[in-house]
């Protein structure tokens, strides 16, 4: 039993559990699952700078920040306490592509060190992958009104066609980056 918790979980365990978070939040607190809003609340709490979009009662949305803090704790428990394999068991085809097309050699950890080790901030790589990438996530999710949780999971589960448009946008952007821009950056 404990072994199951230690190994990576298959999709048919993780997916339904993520899906159950939607009714759990609704029934326990009448809240709609969505994580990117927490970024807005942090901005409103720390640097509102008189901007109308950041002038609201973020304390009334504090539940979202507690949920985000929980995810931090969950990351610690899931990775450090329950343990993890040295490498993520991705498909051999992906390993092959990343080796030959993007010239990555180190496949240990959750993120490739060659792009996400902090010393990459001494050159353009770190600023593009961590800086620009993170910026686009924060800018894009708020502009779109949600991220993978708010649009793809709870939006689609509530049959919101707006969320379907957003998800098509997410995938279009991701495919564009992976197939056209990655080869230019690392090819």
């Amino acid at each position: 039993m404990l072994d199951f918790f230690r190994q990576p979980w298959p999709w048919y365990v993780a997916g339904p559990l993520i899906g159950l978070t939607v009714p759990a939040l609704l029934l326990l607190g009448n809240k709609t699952l969505g994580i990117s809003s927490s970024l807005r609340h942090i901005c409103a709490a720390c640097v509102p700078a008189g901007l109308p979009f950041l002038r609201y009662d973020w304390r009334a949305q504090a539940w979202n920040l507690w949920f985000a803090l929980g995810i931090v704790l969950g990351g610690f428990v899931g990775y450090r306490v329950l343990g993890h394999p040295a490498t993520v068991a991705i498909s051999p085809a992906t390993v092959h592509d990343l080796r030959t097309q993007l010239h990555l050699t180190d496949f240990t950890g959750l993120l490739p060190r060659e792009l996400f080790a902090l010393d990459n901030l001494a050159n353009w790589r770190g600023w593009v992958f961590m800086g620009l990438g993170g910026f686009l996530v924060g800018f894009g999710t708020r502009y779109a009104g949600g991220c993978t949780s708010g649009h793809a999971i709870s939006g689609l589960a509530n049959l919101q066609w707006v969320s379907l448009v957003a998800v098509v946008g997410f995938f279009a952007g991701g495919l564009l980056m992976t197939w056209l821009i990655y080869p230019l950056l690392l090819g």
Binding site: V22, F67, G74, I90, L110, G131, L156, L159, G169, L176
Partner: protein, 135 residues
């Protein structure tokens, strides 16, 4: 301590994201290269379970534990939905992380997560500042 339940649910959510490796850049690359079913299975089954649950909540008019009627608000359309969606998609493939996984990565002790979260906050703040001038 009315927020404790959200902390607990968030913790469970973070454990699920981490144990299913949704928080890994490698898994997101594998998804965008269509080389495994893993991520599609997770997103697809999460939506399916959420959809059935919401239908049941609606059909039986279930109430929250505080006795309130469950409120489900409709998402509003604006050009930002697809422009912002596209920009987020570019960032998702670069970082291999959406906001939830960034928080989970922070907890798992990955230093890059600090930079990713600060950059995402800068992005959200910039959107807030430019909002009136965007389509």
């Amino acid at each position: 301590m009315k927020n404790l339940k959200y902390l607990v649910l968030g913790t469970l959510f973070g454990i699920i994201l981490t144990k299913s490796e949704v928080v890994s850049w490698f898994r997101i690359q594998e998804m965008f290269r269509f080389q495994a079913f893993h991520m599609y299975g997770i997103i697809g089954s999460a939506v399916a379970v959420g959809l059935v649950a919401i239908q049941l909540i609606k059909r039986y008019r279930l109430k929250s534990i505080d006795g309130e009627a469950i409120k489900l608000t409709d998402k509003k359309f604006s050009p930002g939905v697809w422009i912002g969606g596209l920009l987020f998609g570019l960032g998702w493939a670069l970082t291999g992380a959406c906001p939830g996984p960034m928080f989970a990565q922070l907890g798992s002790g990955i230093p890059a997560a600090i930079v990713l979260i600060l950059a995402a906050l800068a992005g959200t703040w910039t959107y807030s500042a430019l909002r009136e001038r965007l389509p």
